[in-house]
Amino acid sequence: MADDSLVSDDLLRTLVGVGHVDLLVGIPTLNHAGTISDVVKAVEASFRTYFPRQRTALINSDAGSTDDTMALVQNCCLDQARTVTASSGLRTTHRISTPYHGTLGKTNAVRLIFSSADLLQANGVVVLDPDVANITPEWVAALAAPLRDRHVDFVAPVYRRQVAEGHLVTQLLRPLIRATYGWRVREPLASEFGCSGRFAAHCAEQESWGSHDVQNAVHLWLTGTALAGSFSVAQTELGTHQLVPSAPQQPLADLFRQVVTSAFAMIDEHAGYWLGKTEVKDVPMVGAPVAAEAPDEIVPPDGARILESFDQDVKNLEEILRILLTKDTFAALTSAAADPSRPGLPGALWATTVGEFLVAYHHNVMRRDHIAQALLPLYMARAGTFLHEHANSSPEAAEAALESLCVHFEQVKTRVVDRWTQPAVR
């Protein structure tokens, strides 16, 4: 049974009126007046065009916007909504804008969306990120249609990324999740996704929403929950992903620590699922790729500049690294950092390093947030290495390098598994 303490009396009254839905689209917001109208417009156009016979509703879960976000959700695009045209849907579409209480952050917003979906007995749920500037009706359709047509439980997006984008995902989370869980999920941290009502109800019941680990990386937790829970998972191509954050971004150090800690915690919790998995499978791709305009080229940072601090960082972390890593790995890392002829952190060594950090986290060899913190400079070195090597590569070459990195992580898994159940070894 969903935890309905999140659902206020006002919201419950509204949900009573909405009744059962086939598709619920949720949009968590906090001061998104600049983008929310376009997102609402895209969602309603999607309802009319792709789901004209479905019972649909849009729910905006707001963290306390001080701008016009909630009013815009209710009032934008009403002329189009009311016009009887050949393309208007058969059914009433509901727009709900509701504040949520408790801890700020997208986690509670998503949880409220899931609780509402459970009460509405929604067959499918799509969650969108209003920080994304290029959401189209086809995005909603791509994420929702597999839920209806193929009875998939979780639909993750696939983005077309440039070399300079998304290193936290491409260099760390993607290969890590792939190697441990045994599924080739491209975007384990995506803030847009589709899921079945069954999955939403399952997640809504979990006790772990309140934990810091889930709070800090709810989308990663959802991906892991889908994989570890043996829910059917699929992916769909959405094209480019143009972020226009409404609020200043968190400092990278904080973000990295939170996400990595959350990732390690989740992997640790799901060990029973992945320890015995030896093969890695493709997550099915569904639907036709969403057509997208070519994005503005992002000028990659200078990877060589990033690597300038690699050697010093390793020296600074020596004491901690000697605890977290095996002797061989530490030596290889030190050597790579100090090698002037070939600066950088090779993919294989990076994979080994991450694997040993993960094991160290599992064995709780030190404060866990310190473990994540210690990984940051090495992550920077890895990102710098990739940028240095591929700043001018073709997309195909860059993709091949990323695939190679994933394979390195897969090869490390055996050692991770061996050390997982043994006492901590130096």
């Binding site: 009573v16 009126g17 909405v18 016979r53 058969l90 059914r91 009433t92």
Partner: protein, 547 residues
């Protein structure tokens, strides 16, 4: 309520009943209904509570379109009786306070009509110009074909005349040429003939198509309205209290011109409303209904919409979008045999799977929405249909009066009946008939009588304005009908499940709702949203009173 007979605008408050003489009651055992049989059933119709009977065509006809192909405008088909039989029927109907309107098929005649026989005989014949001729079939190229399933063109080649003639309907129904003043005069003569006999008006068939002009859709043209205004002027010059009811299957805004400034039709069917009632029910969503009513323009105070659930034709899906049509076909006519032209040829009860609750709900909507309701014969007992009969005959089967021989319709041998009576286990006459339902206090028949009776306790439903409440719960259709100081709250649950609804009635705070069928008091309306719960497909009518 004021007696309709003394009210020239009686049609605004009337409940109409459409019937087919051919299949209502046969008095002489030839298998065909007739006027004497119908006269014998007038007590039943009076008891039902209806005010006006609308008869399908009873003119002499070769019956290739069930009488809409007229071969003589001034007589009665011998199968239905004589002109004297008709006069007697009319007198008896009027004696019971029932008005009678008949069909007036203005757009076309049968090709067997003497006018057409003369017209085709020679280009010099005086009646040549009574029809629309052409040497080629190239004119009016883009005009849509109405009977799509049977007609490939709006032109037909006449081998006698060696020319093409225009027909918007079947090829054996040539269109009259209303550009010819003689045609207009003759149609007025037809009207006058029947009005002088005492009919109370006409349901005028196929009015949008009277005039053709190149480069147009040949529908709803200004010249067509000129013709209709001409006929109306003549009517008003000679008679009062008569009604002209237009059959114009168009969007509401396109039907509006047919009312003119109160100088054209008194009434017009609201075709687009009808499929949307079925759609809203299946969707469990009020959206289609609210949208079409809100799109319906105001009409002159002396005019009225004719609203209906079913009639003698297919449930037309012309005035819906392609998406809506596909939805209706998939939900209501999975069997392709049920589909005809752009519609569904099924009766009310089979469309609703014989579900008494849904039948009641749709009838409740019919009786509470703006307009004069028109019941189709047999639907008051939930008659079934036979989609395997050709054309639209499946919804025109004999009335089921009893469980006896031929359902009490005729003493003829069953093989002699025009159409066989319905005898399947679901809707068969053996159990589903008037006699049985008259014996059961809570039958659909008695419920329908009660419904009409309650409706007629107020003019709010027929003449009042409508305001939708639009609660969050889209499964509930709620509206207030207002006429002067009188207000009625109508709440309908379109859903198959129990529903709760909160209605914003604060502007009516202080009023007490009184449910109109049982006169039960409900809590006074206050400042908070008014909470109601409704069972599946339930509806309530509340009279709102200050107390």
């Amino acid at each position: 309520m004021t007696d309709a007979a003394s009210n020239p605008f009686w049609y605004r408050d009337a409940v109409f009943y459409q019937l087919h003489v051919k299949t209502f009651c046969d008095s002489d055992g030839d298998g065909v209904g007739d006027f004497r049989g119908l006269t014998g059933k007038l007590d039943y119709l009076q008891g039902l509570g209806v005010d006006c009977l609308w008869l399908l065509p009873t003119f002499p006809s070769p019956f290739r379109d069930d009488g809409y192909d007229i071969a003589d405008y001034y007589s009665i088909h011998p199968g239905y009786g004589t002109l004297d039989d008709f006069k007697e029927f009319l007198a008896q109907a009027h004696a019971r306070g029932l008005k009678v309107i008949t069909e007036l098929v203005t757009n076309h005649t049968s090709d067997k009509h003497p006018w057409f026989q003369e017209a085709r005989s020679s280009v010099d014949n005086p009646r040549r110009d009574w029809y629309v001729w052409s040497d080629t079939d190239e004119k009016y190229r883009d005009v849509r074909i109405i009977f799509l399933d049977t007609e490939p063109s709006n032109w037909a080649w006449d081998p006698v005349s060696k020319a093409y003639y225009w027909h918007r309907f079947f090829s054996h129904q040539p269109d009259l040429n209303y550009d010819n003043p003689a045609v207009r005069e003759e149609m007025w003569n037809v009207m006058k003939f029947w009005l002088d006999l005492g009919v109370d008006g006409f349901r005028v068939d196929a009015v949008p198509y009277l005039i053709e002009r190149e480069g147009t859709s040949c529908e709803n043209l200004p010249e067509t309205h000129d013709v209709l205004k001409f006929l109306r002027r003549r009517l008003d010059e000679h008679y009062t209290g008569k009604v002209l009811l237009a059959e114009a299957n168009q969007w509401p805004e396109d039907v509006r011109p047919y009312f003119g400034d109160g100088d054209e039709f008194h009434m017009a069917f609201h075709f687009p409303l009808m499929p949307r009632m079925f759609m809203a029910l299946r969707l469990e969503d009020r959206k289609p209904l609210v949208e079409i009513i809100e799109r319906t323009p105001d009409i002159p105070d002396t005019c009225q919409w004719g609203i209906f659930l079913r009639n003698h034709d297919e449930l037309t899906l012309e005035m819906v979008t392609a998406e809506e049509r596909d939805y209706m076909y998939e939900e209501y006519a999975r069997d392709p045999v049920a589909r005809l032209n752009l519609g569904i040829r099924r009766r009310l009860a089979p469309l609703l799977d014989g579900d008494r609750r849904r039948i009641e709900l749709l009838n409740g909507l019919l009786m509470s929405m703006p307009g004069s309701p028109i019941l189709y014969y047999g639907d008051e007992i939930g008659m079934g249909d036979n989609i395997y009969l050709g054309d639209r005959n499946g919804v025109r089967t004999p009335m089921q009066w009893s469980g006896g021989w031929n359902a009490g319709f005729s003493t003829a041998d069953p093989e002699r009946l025009t159409f066989a009576v319905i005898s399947n286990p679901l809707y068969g006459y053996q159990a589903l008939n008037v006699a049985a339902q008259e014996r059961l206090a809570h039958s659909l028949l008695n419920w329908t009588k009660r419904l009409i009776q309650v409706r007629k306790t107020t003019r709010v439903f027929s003449q009042g304005r409508i305001k939708f409440l639009n609660p969050t719960n889209h499964r509930v259709l709620a509206y207030i009908r207002t006429l002067g100081k009188e207000q009625v709250l109508v709440v309908n649950n379109l859903s198959s499940t129990v529903q709760a609804v909160e209605l914003a009635l604060q502007s009516l705070a202080g009023l007490v709702p009184i449910e109109m069928f049982g006169n039960s008091l409900f809590p006074r309306i206050g400042e908070l949203p008014y909470l109601l719960t409704l069972g599946p497909y339930e509806f309530y009518w509340f009279r709102l009173r200050r107390a």
